[in-house]
Symmetry: C3
């Protein structure tokens, strides 16, 4: 594994190996030396303080020097291409790039042009991939439900069409051999391009939740409303929002997840988000551990 | 001491203990290990590069990983509450939060909602508290005037009404049993809510300065003029500005302090600010030492 | 050497000593301890993410604590002078300042007012000096062409008039006793103040390139066009752009340099910039090594 661009097609053993190592980091406080003396750079063409800080903490705990380059707010970078930026930082000695970009495939294109010793870590590109989110969601599921994914029933609810989180979750769930993957959302927010080929697709959330072990909700961007893909946030919540009542359809010990940041009262009620079945903050915690595992794998000595 | 939210009501022994430890840090160059491996985050809802950097240096000298989160300039944080932000960073493993907020009590409210292992450090909230400024001012006074505060005569001059610095100074001066606390400013800039109950209040700066050991001046925000609380900066300076001439009323070895940044020629003349009696840069230096002492106390192993 | 403000007048032995030490850093991966526990601050009154990051990496590899202060985007700094900012940071314990400023001489003025233990490192002031760029260009030349500068023929092409890079290159080339320094550009972009006294000046780029060992191109700011100093970017490129064809006039093993960021197709074609004779990324790599050598010299134990 030279870069981490996607979870699509990753062997089960690779995913399990990363999860095992991440669990070790989650269980072990303090710092490690795997990246001591190495320089990594967060290169975000789309701003996200939260994700950036998670990667920053992961890098720091491994002993790396971290540079933060928020291209969206940098006045200096106008007119320079992403490629020139990467090449300059490579020349300065940066070995790892944690890249978020609004364009599908942008991170893979950078990886194609990178030096042999450079590692690219996709922190989200377009609607395509957010592999560390997929991994942290699997770690969270495994902690709650054990490691036999073949017996799991998982519902993914929301705007799957525009979600790189959903795509990476699907890649990871497949890699781990998940038994029953259900996908639910309004027709306008579900992809019709084969992404959901092996999933049980429904527009009825009660049907989707019936007996499931976990509900993975997705963030609804406000612009979906502006684009006419949903009528209103209230309407979306009425049909697809996860409420305590709706959750009674799921298995008695079902858990609820969300990649954050939450639109409270839209995708999920406060009661559920802050309730005993919510794993949302556990997901955030696992994010640092998973990113440490990936960084160590790509850049560790 | 679990958080540092206010100096109000803090026992004398606690204040003295922190000052003693801060003096040790001020006297000892180089780095310490008390926060090695711990992550702290500066969470500033009101921007202040200077105060943020002081806390950052203090954290770095103790070996911590430091994240800087300037909420006021973060494009990503719109719509997320301060509480959600803190909870997410807590989940990532951040143990200490250094928070500045424009609302009175905002930091205390975050502390109420924090995890048991989290420590909050108030870096200024509304007009209420700026406890590390109070402590660094006491350290500065003690270095210059010895540790018997009962014999000290201190004048606080300026916009006390809107000043969290003045309130924290008053808390600290009382905790240390200061003999004579005088407060001086125009009626429009003095609080009438009991804050000054045990102080000698006057509107005449010459009276306030008569024989004092130290003059603590306060920053005058330009908006006080816009709000009609002072006629003009010139007028304010004529009546309350600290000049070399006016300072002759004070004790021969009186010192002058200011929390910065200075409005030169308004609260204080260049001659006094840069003169031999000014402790203004000493205050800045002591700021790092005091913040190290507080961080070690709250987060040290 | 207490500060590094300019290369003008620096003894040859000092330049060679810095280049030798930089070469050692370039050859040796990993971190060093020379600045362990010391705090340095990048203080940029003119934004430049690339240069700032190069200095940041250099400081981190030496073990320093690094503060980044981008004055141009800091909302908090309005109204405070550069001098007050430096004095406050000095008081906090910052020992090294890496300063970029739009005004000629601004860094030298700060150096005059600094404490005896403070070191200033000029990261570019006005059109006057950019000494670390001059040094990294010399290191790059030396790696490619050996250390006998007296036999070298060097052409500097472009907007020399407004370029601090060109001035520092000229200082360094003279210190090393370069045999033949040619300067080429349109009359509107060449200084007429004695700067080029000992250079072979021409407006004909083919003449300038004839038989040279190295071509140092300079960035053309778009504002030169707005100011009427060049007719158009196309026109500039036609007359002064470095193309593969034009480069045939130079020595067979001639190299091409550019301080970056490149205006592709203006100062230089893609073919040359990305071709085998380009040392542009080598310059970037040498930047970190040279800055380490300077920081160690000014601030090392």
């Amino acid at each position: 594994m030279h870069h981490l661009l996607t979870l699509d097609g990753l062997p089960r053993a690779t995913v399990v190996g990363l999860l095992d190592r991440a669990q070790h980091f989650a269980d072990t406080p303090g710092d490690f030396d795997a990246l001591r003396g190495a320089a990594v750079c967060t290169l975000f063409f789309e701003p996200s303080t939260r994700t950036r800080m998670s990667f920053q903490l992961a890098s720091q705990r491994l002993g790396a020097h971290v540079l933060n380059f928020d291209v969206s707010t940098s006045s200096a970078r106008k007119g320079e291409t992403a490629l020139d930026t990467m090449r300059n930082l490579e020349a300065m000695g940066v070995r790892g790039f944690i890249v978020r970009h609004h364009d599908d495939g942008a991170v893979a294109r950078l990886a194609d042009a990178a030096r042999p010793e450079t590692a690219l870590l996709n922190a989200g590109d377009g609607r395509s991939n957010h592999p560390t989110q997929g991994l942290l969601d699997m770690l969270t599921l495994r902690q709650a439900k054990g490691d036999d994914f073949s017996r799991m029933r998982i519902a993914i609810v929301g705007d799957v069409k525009h979600s790189r989180v959903a795509r990476s979750d699907l890649h990871a769930l497949r890699a781990l051999g998940t038994g029953d993957i259900r996908v639910c959302g309004p027709a306008s927010l579900l992809p019709d391009d084969g992404t959901l080929a092996d999933c049980n697709v429904t527009h009825d959330v009660d049907e989707a939740l019936d007996g499931v072990d976990a509900v993975m909700t997705l963030r609804l961007q406000r612009e979906r409303m502006e684009d006419g893909l949903v009528d209103s946030l209230e309407d979306y919540h009425r049909h697809y929002g996860i409420t305590a009542e709706r959750l009674r359809r799921a298995a008695p010990d079902a858990v609820v997840m969300h990649p954050g940041p939450i639109n409270r009262g839209v995708e999920i009620t406060d009661e559920v988000a802050d309730g005993p079945r919510s794993l949302i903050l556990r997901q955030v915690a696992n994010g640092v551990a998973v990113r440490m595992a990936v960084l160590e794998r790509l850049l560790g000595r």
